[in-house]
Symmetry: C2
Subunit: 411 residues, 2 copies
């Protein structure tokens, strides 16, 4: 069997392989010790990945105040493992020019003290304000390091991937020019790679397509990737009703219907697929509205993909089947979220989570990915999780062969 | 559920909807009567489709000698339903300049009397010699007729298709300029359509891609379609051992490894998929060799597709899984071939036929199509056939939901 990872951030994964992974840190002291040790090994800003507050004894994210004593004037940015939240120390905030007077960017926010001072916790698009300042100073992983990471994928039985690559603002920090790195390495790539491009600029998308088509090697343009919301872990996935453990928020809807409709049409026009990240039930419904409008305007339904599709009402499942759009799911989220998902959602909404079986039974085309570096990329993890469910909404378990089929090549 | 037909000849299907369908003719007299009646209704050459000698009482194809008395000087071309064989009357042969002195074209042959006179039966590329002479004289189906045919597809639950379209020499006659017709109608198309282009010319392929990208509407370029062999019905599928009912032939291998390797590389270079028709076990093995070489040279395995993959040894199934290529199958072939397949293959080889279950169990990505106008395009026919098998190699039956999944959208 040769697997395909339908949703992976290849350069983010390469940065993780050679970088600082905080996933199994025990508590805040452990986080600080690892950051300090890593700072000794690298030059420039210290970038950490897969920070997981739910796995820390304290059950909370660190703030700049926690980080500053061990990091001093070295800028530090620790990405939460969902990729939608990060924590900056004071040196990093300063470098990015973020202070009490900085307004929240559209589609994101800085956590603040009562006097407006940023705590260092950055949500959604606010992460970008700091990554863009730090990225030029971070020595990117070397080409050998990146290729080694891709070779690791082949050893997991992965023959090809749908790789998500950003242009302009880097998504994960670490590789400032993701597309450029990919282009340089394309002829030597040990795996096939169709590329979904993260951008909000139709001209940049068209340019990325031209670039990818000149790449050589097993690399090709696949389409556009945009975001309708954030993550459940970070309380930024857009819900219809407030979070059970934070009644003050329903998450962050990042979709802008007018802008994203014309962006999607630009992608379709150049032969691209449109993949939209939607995790919360509210984001899912908004994306279904957008897809309905696109199909009404003549878009081919099979080139519309919803990424994650984590919380689905019965009606959403039905609409996906009727529209004929594709559901791109990440079963490896289940073991990661098993200990805290019900806290976020409360018991009633657990029945809407990760409805793989319902999607298949409704006749939706479902494909599987790891979302690495959010999760590790071994397809076996995702396959096992789709079968075993780790206690999350167990009626939605699928058979082993259904789970394997999620990770077969696209066509 | 919204279906995708992964292998359909959309313009051939449109020509069938408005044209002469001989599939259920009882005997040669019935064929002749239908041809004569259709000749009254149309101007120019008379084109018939889905001629099925296995369904005729006489169990043989008509020849020019049979056709001439009822058709006189009107050129007639009746396509066998497999699309790989056709019968021309004397007027059609004359128009095409085919006579006893005409040599067989590469990859095809004219059936002949002992003195070399063509009988009218044309095999593989020899069909093209007559279609290219007749096509300019055949009034193409009108735009409304073509759009009506596509609307019929939506009424069968089909939301999108992978459409196979020829450039240059028309495959089915009836629509001389398939790509041109598609371009004209693209903005009004009621279904999404990814296009696989039949050509042997890299420049024509690149030009077709440019054309398709300007098409507008839900139409996009998908890649290249070429042929490694013919059909089992017509004794032209390439077998390792002779046909059981014609010990003098092992079929016609149409693959030219050097030419097709460079053609495939040209398709991959412009972001295309490479889809190769392979029905017989010998053609399958040759295509697997070609795909192995392409992957060795760095091709992305998930953009390599084998069309039909009808006769597979255990080793071929394993190789497909290992290589990570895609199997594109047509379950509706089973009911059509149920009465005669064992005659062609003999009992031993029946175990290699249409191994849908083995492919799925080996972890091959399998997709389903109708091959319309070869078969009718209702996905329900294919789904039922994949489950019920019509007596062909019944151990390879799949479940209803596995069968439905074959016809889900690509991604």
């Amino acid at each position: 069997m040769t697997y395909h990872d339908h949703h992976i951030h290849p350069l983010g994964y390469a940065a993780l392989v050679g970088g600082l992974d905080l996933m199994d840190a025990r508590d805040l002291d452990d986080v600080l010790a690892r950051v300090a040790a890593h700072a000794e090994k690298v030059t420039g800003p210290v970038i950490a990945q897969r920070l997981n507050d739910e796995g820390l004894r304290e059950g909370r994210l660190p703030t700049a105040t926690d980080l500053d004593p061990v990091t001093g004037d070295r800028p530090v940015l620790a990405h939460r493992y969902c990729g939608h939240i990060a924590v900056a120390n004071t040196a990093a905030l300063k470098l990015a020019g973020v202070d009490a007077t900085t307004p929240d960017p559209p589609g994101g926010s800085f956590d603040r003290l009562p006097d407006g001072t940023p705590t260092g916790i950055l949500r959604e698009t606010a992460v970008g304000a700091v990554t863009s300042a730090l990225a030029p100073l971070v020595p990117p992983p070397g080409d050998t390091e990146i290729l080694d990471a891709f070779k690791q994928l082949t050893s997991m039985g992965i023959g090809s991937v749908t790789g998500i690559v950003s242009v302009g603002e880097p998504l994960w920090c670490g590789v400032a020019d993701e597309l450029g790195a990919l282009m340089r390495l394309a002829p030597d790539l040990p795996i096939g790679m169709d590329v979904l491009v993260i951008t909000q600029d139709p001209a940049a998308l068209a340019a990325a397509r031209e670039t990818l088509e000149r790449a050589g090697g097993p690399v090709g343009f696949r389409g556009l990737k945009i975001f309708a919301d954030g993550s459940l872990g970070g309380h930024t996935a857009a819900l219809h009703q407030p979070y059970a453990d934070r009644r003050d928020t329903r998450g962050v809807l990042r979709l802008d219907a007018a802008r994203d409709l014309s962006l999607a049409e630009a992608a379709l026009e150049i032969g691209g697929t449109v993949a939209i990240h939607a995790i919360g039930d509210r984001a899912v419904d908004e994306v279904l509205d957008l897809f309905t409008e696109l199909i009404h305007r003549g878009a081919p339904s099979h080139r519309l993909r919803m990424e994650h599709a984590s919380l689905l009402t019965d009606q959403a499942v039905e609409r996906m089947a009727e529209l004929g759009i594709v559901a791109s799911v990440q079963p490896a989220f289940l073991p990661s979220e098993a200990t805290w998902l019900e806290k976020r959602l409360g018991p009633e909404r657990m029945g809407t989570a990760y409805r793989f079986r319902s999607l298949l039974e409704a006749g939706v085309r479902v494909i599987g990915g790891s979302d690495a570096p959010v999760e590790l990329p071994d397809p076996e993890t995702g396959i096992a999780a789709a079968v075993h469910r780790h206690g999350i909404n167990p009626g939605e378990a699928v058979t082993r062969s259904q789970a394997e089929a999620l990770f077969l090549p696209p066509s």
